[in-house]
């Protein structure tokens, strides 16, 4: 009995070992694929414009500091300003999008009201309209009403984010037991307070995920901001990068462009690492029981 038992556990052990090796192999392969593009970005940021014109290179060259200095001190673009601007826009958009999507999803998930199904279907329907379509019309309206060089036309539309809403709704369906809400009601907790203090903490992993995604999306957004933000001190990072790329031939410097692309990724990476911790922490917070 003990012999067969240990043999079985040994077999299970080997099985697990093999599985682990396979899993690590897959992970390492995918990581190399992903990191390779970053490595190339980095290598390109260490090369001069002339070297970049010559095509691909595998090894970094010694112009990293030079490119950094050139990018940082460029007279026409103010990188720190751009980073701050992008942070303001992307940060507020991410917060608004995530919070109001959760609120809307909760409104439809937790309450029974007449237009509930109609509202859900409607949001699902508008989700499938390509954003390119409304963007151009939106730009025309903004010009018509003189709303250029303001941030709120870029931020406030984030309140209505059908995709994020849909995720929150699905997430609630899988993890949010209504009993907890009922219990809170019995305790005399107001509906809005219940949402903020009991429901939101349970959604922590989902909130963190959507905060990251909407932050990144807004951070990299070029089309709308490029048409609406034309004042130098209002410009966001992608506009500045595009501006470097449309510089005239005497100032055109791809080394600088790659350096700026690299710089632009760093803040997002920090936000990601910071928030992805809370996806994991969410597990313990999520198991709060009523």
């Amino acid at each position: 009995m003990t012999v067969s038992d240990s043999a079985e556990s040994r077999r299970a052990h080997t099985q697990l070992l093999v599985l682990r090796i396979i899993v690590y192999a897959i992970l390492i392969f995918l990581s190399i694929l992903c990191l390779f593009s970053f490595y190339m970005l980095f290598v390109n940021a260490t090369r001069t414009n002339a070297q970049l014109q010559g095509g691909f290179a595998l090894l970094p060259r010694g112009h990293f500091m030079e490119n950094l200095r050139n990018a940082w001190t460029d007279a026409s673009i103010n990188i720190p300003r751009g980073l701050v601007n992008s942070f303001l826009v992307a940060g507020s958009t991410a917060v608004l999008t995530t919070y109001f999507s959760a609120l809307t999803a909760y409104g439809i998930h937790a309450y029974d009201f007449k237009c509930k199904n109609a509202a859900f279907t409607f949001i699902m329907a508008i989700m499938v309209i390509p954003p390119q379509v409304s963007a151009t019309g939106f730009v025309q309206l903004c010009y018509k009403y003189g709303l250029t060089n303001r941030y709120w036309p870029l931020i406030l539309p984030g309140i209505a984010a059908p995709v994020v809403f849909f995720y929150m709704k699905q997430y609630m369906e899988s993890v949010l037991p209504m009993e907890i809400v009922e219990a809170a009601r019995v305790d005399g907790c107001g509906e809005f307070r219940t949402f903020n203090t009991i429901v939101l903490p349970m959604l922590k992993p989902a909130m963190a995920v959507q905060l990251i995604f909407s932050f990144v999306q807004s951070w990299n957004n070029y089309f709308l901001p490029s048409l609406l933000l034309t004042k130098a001190e209002k410009k966001t990072v992608p506009i500045m990068i595009a501006q470097l790329r449309s510089a005239d031939y005497s100032k055109f410097d791809m080394g600088k462009v790659y350096m700026f692309i690299l710089l632009a990724i760093l803040p997002v990476l920090i936000v990601y690492i910071f928030l992805s911790k809370s996806i994991i922490r969410g597990v313990t917070a999520g198991s709060v029981k009523g």
Binding site: L33, T104, V133, G137, A206, V216, Y272, S276, V283
Partner: protein, 305 residues
């Protein structure tokens, strides 16, 4: 009126969804409604001169479905391209993301360096699509490193023109889309699994369920809503695929427009002529296709409950 014992919470529902609808109607509704409205009009710019809007009924739609000289209907061709590109990119993406999400959350595997892997696989999503395409361009150009390797290994005497063949262009687009989005999907699914009550796994474990049984009996059913979300948003995102093929082929959808997607087609009309009539008609078609497919997927995936 006296207070009733049973309280209706309906108004809270309305109140909670109010900001969403307010923001939607103020910022998005007008342009979107205009889109559908415009699809029945001739409405474009030639230079700075505005032509229209003149009501033309269904003419824009008829034009879209009129076969060209070779007898093929462009909009159907582009819909086909879009579907092919989507399937090539999204199927591996969802399968691998699901696998990775299971790996990362598995108690038995206890992957070390999780934070590292999770960060790395998401990183391609942080690069702007245009910068990502620039890198792929230099990698796969006729004088790029991939071709240098191919020639050095003696696999081919002449460089392979990756951007002149339908198969290779589509493969590159799918690879890029996969790389850009699989980390994203993994995180979504992982958050879904993380949200599942841990005691259920423990209970399954105590009942002697093995990993596969646990996955199919516990994880999958509870993850289903998130999986539905993943599939549907991947479908919607796929049907709206634009930036990667646009940048990689310089907007041309080379070769012979076999990598032109529906939204690239739409974008051709919005470029210099701001042709809201035709662009509106194409959007309505995309809207219908996506709507029907999403509903089909949603129904078929949620029916089991």
């Amino acid at each position: 009126m006296k207070k009733k014992k049973s309280i209706s919470y309906a108004k809270w529902g309305y109140l909670f969804i109010l900001p969403f609808f307010l923001a939607y109607f103020v910022f998005t509704f007008v342009p979107q409604a205009l889109t559908i409205y415009n699809s029945f009009f001739e409405n474009y710019r030639e230079g700075l001169t505005q032509v229209g809007p003149n009501f033309v009924g269904l003419r824009n739609y008829i034009q879209l479905f009129t076969p060209d000289a070779n007898g093929s209907i462009d909009v159907l061709k582009y819909a086909g391209n879009t579907m092919i590109l989507w399937v090539l990119g999204a199927v591996p993406q969802i399968v691998i993301a699901l696998l990775l999400a299971i790996f990362f959350t598995s108690y038995r595997l206890r992957i070390r360096g999780q934070q590292f892997f999770k960060t790395v696989i998401y990183m391609p999503n942080l690069i702007m699509a245009s910068a990502f395409s620039m890198l792929f361009f230099t990698l796969f150009s006729n004088v790029g490193p991939i071709n240098q390797i191919i020639q050095a290994m003696g696999w081919s005497d002449v460089p392979i023109d990756f951007f002149a063949k339908t198969v290779t262009v589509r493969a590159l687009i799918s690879l890029m889309n996969f790389l850009m989005w699989f980390g994203n999907t993994t995180i979504l699914l992982m958050a879904g699994i993380m949200g599942i009550d841990q005691s259920l796994f423990e209970a399954a474990n105590l009942d002697g369920a093995n990993a596969i049984q646990t996955f199919f009996k516990v994880t999958l059913p509870l993850l289903m809503p998130i999986l539905v979300y993943t599939v549907i948003t991947a479908l919607i995102g796929g049907l709206q695929m634009f930036d990667v093929p646009q940048v990689l082929t310089g907007g041309a959808g080379t070769p012979n427009r076999t990598s032109t997607t529906l939204v690239m087609f739409l974008n051709n009309y919005l470029g210099s002529s701001k042709n809201y009539g035709m662009a509106g008609a194409i959007s309505v078609i995309i809207f219908i296709i996506t709507g029907v497919l999403s509903m089909f997927v949603y129904r078929s995936l949620t029916k089991k409950d």
